[in-house]
Symmetry: C2
């Protein structure tokens, strides 16, 4: 329990003055640090420089007889489909290779559900009075912004250590207005939780009332361990097929955090029937994504084994950063019991849940001291954290030396916010 709650007024006053003095000291340093977004750091970008020159001549630009420089091949080049199918454990014909952002592929899927409907939609969602979407949270703000942008009613689903609360999910999908769910199954954003096999199987075996219910399976961190070995995962497409709902899931991934965040390749995996349906719609808006960049990725990443080797080099860069964050939290915050957090082994975030009511104030203080973090509430639909508790720490961008300072600021601000609240009681 909150250690401050057991102290005397005098003890609290002393502690407040100490923490406040340290805060003022940090503030006086005029820091400008950023732990706001899961941006890879320069060292990671430099790791993959060879991808810039892997294609040099016209001859290099031919793959399976296709000149990747020219128009054509809407769904991507076969070699890229093969690579991604191996990474995700699905079949090449279940792969659509996109541009530099899986976010855009996810948006396109939801957008088409609204304007044209999905494969099994009785009607485009735009024609419906009400569309509801399940949002495990804390979650990824950009997911929630997509469904918010189209006017869906978003329903909070609590995250548990094994993934979304599946009892609640199974209950809610009985409502035909519930059209889908956002999922980050491995190293969830921001908690870093890996869905348990039971959660994954229950998800694939959902029997929603809506015939066009869609599992938006954002496997953004599918090979993104920063501690320990690669953890295999089951192919959600296979599981849904085995559960007789082959068209219920769309899976997404990208190389944004494998090669270059601004210049990677994205992928959408779905049943062959879903692919055929989406190709008809996507063929109106594009001729193909950048196939030269697809071939760069094929030549640079080669295959799953070689990709996993690269991920271990990313891990070497990221590990000390996460260790720094967790060390500060253990040393400074754990004894006070004013917050809890997961200890992820992959992904890009550490998710801190403060005692209720402290998140906004903590982040305001951080900002005052020159440390920018993801805005409070961002990890919840509509930006509203009902407990004002969740804070997402993104330690990948700053070098460790800066991170040490930023975490000093963060822990100080969290303590100060807790003390202010305790004093106000």
């Amino acid at each position: 329990m909150n250690a401050y709650a057991t102290r005397t007024a005098a003890q609290l006053q002393t502690e407040y003055e100490q923490v406040k003095a340290h805060f003022e000291d940090l503030k006086a340093r005029g820091l400008k640090l950023n732990m706001a977004r899961g941006k890879p750091g320069k060292e990671q970008l430099d790791l993959v420089s060879d991808i810039l020159t892997v294609l040099q001549t016209p001859e290099d630009c031919v793959s399976d007889g296709i000149d990747v420089r020219n128009y054509g091949e809407l769904t991507g080049i076969p070699a890229a489909k093969k690579l991604f199918a191996e990474l995700l454990g699905c079949k090449p014909e279940e792969i659509f290779v996109g541009g530099n952002a899986s976010l855009t592929l996810m948006y396109d899927t939801i957008s088409k559900a609204y304007t044209h409907g999905l494969l099994h939609s009785p009607t485009p969602w735009a024609k419906l009075d009400k569309v509801k979407f399940l949002c495990p949270c804390p979650g990824y703000d950009r997911h929630f912004k997509i469904t918010e942008s189209f006017g869906a009613e978003m329903i909070n689903i609590p995250m548990t250590p094994t993934g979304p609360d599946m009892d609640l999910v199974e209950e809610l999908v009985q409502d035909p207005a519930v059209k889908g769910i956002w999922c980050v199954p491995k190293y969830s954003n921001p908690d870093g939780i890996v869905y348990s096999p039971e959660t994954v199987h229950r998800m694939a075996n959902l029997k929603p009332a809506a015939p066009d219910f869609i599992i938006m399976w954002d496997n953004a961190y599918c090979v993104h361990e920063f501690e320990g070995e690669f953890q295999p995962f089951e192919d959600i497409l296979t599981l849904c097929r085995e559960a007789s709902s082959p068209d219920m899931v769309f899976e997404y991934a990208s190389t944004s955090k494998i090669t270059l965040p601004g210049a990677g390749v994205s992928v959408m995996a779905a049943s062959v029937d879903n692919q055929k349906y989406m190709e008809r719609l996507l063929g109106i808006q594009m001729i193909s994504a950048d196939k030269v960049n697809q071939l760069r990725h094929v030549k640079y990443l080669q295959n799953k084994a070689h990709t996993l080797e690269l991920m271990q080099r990313h891990a070497q860069v990221l590990r000390p950063k996460f260790q720094c964050v967790l060390r500060w939290l253990e040393q400074e915050i754990a004894p006070l019991e004013i917050a809890s957090w997961q200890r992820p082994k992959g992904g890009y975030f550490v998710s801190v849940n403060t005692a209720p009511g402290l998140a906004k104030r903590t982040l305001a203080l951080c900002k005052e001291a020159g440390v920018v973090m993801t805005g409070a509430g961002a990890t919840f639909p509509y930006g509203r954290d009902p407990q004002d508790s969740n804070i997402r720490i993104a330690p990948s961008l700053p070098p460790v030396a800066e991170l040490e300072m930023a975490m000093d600021v963060f822990c100080t601000c969290l303590k100060l916010a807790a003390l202010e609240m305790q004093n106000a009681k």
Copy 2:
């Protein structure tokens, strides 16, 4: 007038037999030739190979202090905006730099008009009973497919030698259900017509009843002369601003036919207010387009003068191909007066208008003889050419030697179709 119409039955029979024999002879060669789409040929792709290696090191990837490899810069890097603003004659702040396809930017604009509305939309178009769109035709099939896909009612606007029939356009925009018009102002697809200054000014001075009427100004061939010098054009954004309708136009262009068709950079130019509005919507679906590729283009193309030099090298490749097409038409078809065509100085097409009722049959015969062309009707909304007359020839892909054969086939098939019809009368 149709020369066949003045011949005797015996003459026609003789001619038919000769042409038919030549057709059978061509067919027997088992040709496999393609003049279907405006695909650059290999020689053009090879022209720009240096773009593949223009960025080699981490240091190369920094532009105006921005590391283009990482996330960020939704609207594009400043250096790319500057380059495109110079090419189009607008201001850098009026530029949004997209991915590898202007088609996608156009689709996004129309899609957002339907789902969210445009800046001045009283309501999203999806909520309206009827949306009408003006389609100068013959035109670009992919434009028409976009508005068709969203269910707009498309209205044919005849093309004249100076651009769309502006009397009709000015009349039709009085209907508040008419929400926009597709335009290719320079070297129109497929006619290769350059809109006259009067047409351009009348377009900018339209006073549509719909407050959210949009001119979709696809400047796809803005620097794409294959004969003669670069022909300057007026900035449509400036003209609309001067006509007190600054937000009425979105202009599009890309480097697909400057650098690499599958790996170019696209651009959307619009008023600053339109850009602000669209950024809010586009920021939901993307973090930024591929900025590494943007910087490749900036370093490779450098500026307008240098880009125009490159376009002259493309012209050297394209000119003999267009000359071949026009020579065959002049020699074989002109004396018969069974078709007419423009003699474009830029763009990617020669548009042939046959005597009514000959297009489908001609293309079916071409196919029989192994020459694939753009489908009959494709240049009209819904794929319906009311005269069954327009045929789009795309001579850029085949080498000249193949083109000679393909044009022999084409002219033979056109004659055969005309003779069949004459014989049937």
